[in-house]
């Protein structure tokens, strides 16, 4: 079974530039999550999708961050414009509804963003 795919793996940009990350979840996983992990901290949920609908985006900085999950499969997360404090690893995860009680989320390798 293929895991969660993310690209790019690394990205370096200057502040005020834009950047986009892509995620392809495990086939059949209806729920998709984007997390931000700043160095020395645990992952923080930015947004959660159920199919192509947003379930929770309460911690997404909506003035600069946006995410979409067209057709309920792949997802993109965009930052526009980026700030220095956005430097972090952006993790995508997915889960299958049948595992909702155990809440076992499967994570991709992440995209390490450095904003200079």
């Amino acid at each position: 079974e293929a895991g969660v795919a993310q690209s790019p793996r690394y990205k370096i940009i200057e502040k005020r530039q834009s950047v986009a990350f892509w995620c392809n979840p495990i086939s059949g996983h209806a729920t998709l999550y984007w997390y931000q992990q700043i160095l020395g901290q645990g992952p923080k949920l930015l947004i959660q999708f159920q199919n192509n609908g947003v379930v929770d985006d309460s911690q997404l900085p909506k003035d600069r961050f946006s995410a979409e999950r067209l057709k309920g499969v792949d997802s993109t997360l965009k930052i526009q414009p980026a700030k220095l404090e956005d430097s972090a690893v952006y993790l995508c995860a997915s889960s299958f509804p049948g595992l909702a009680l155990r809440n076992e989320q499967f994570f991709g390798p992440g995209t390490r963003l450095t904003v200079l």
């Binding site: 923080k44 949920l45 889960s95 909702a100 994570f107």
Partner: protein, 115 residues
Amino acid sequence: DQQVKQNSPSLSVQEGRISILNCDYTNSMFDYFLWYKKYPAEGPTFLISISSIKDKNEDGRFTVFLNKSAKHLSLHIVPSQPGDSAVYFCAARRINTGTASKLTFGTGTRLQVTL
């Protein structure tokens, strides 16, 4: 407001000995707890979980203990192996909310198992 806390940023244990990783939480609405393991340049992987109706869950070398009155859980690894060297994250979930599967993570503990 850090609702899930892992107060030990690092831990070093000799191979074959027991590793004990601790986690404290403040939100009494949490009712399901998970441990994730993370190797460098990889995403976290699920390790073991426990429901709040239990006080212990065991899976091979890994055992998680939950003390609800103290709002404390711990992960025991015995015997520890060099391949266990990784960062371990404790996570907690609130049930019966609109975002039932939302996880709150701790800051992680880096475990190093030495030869």
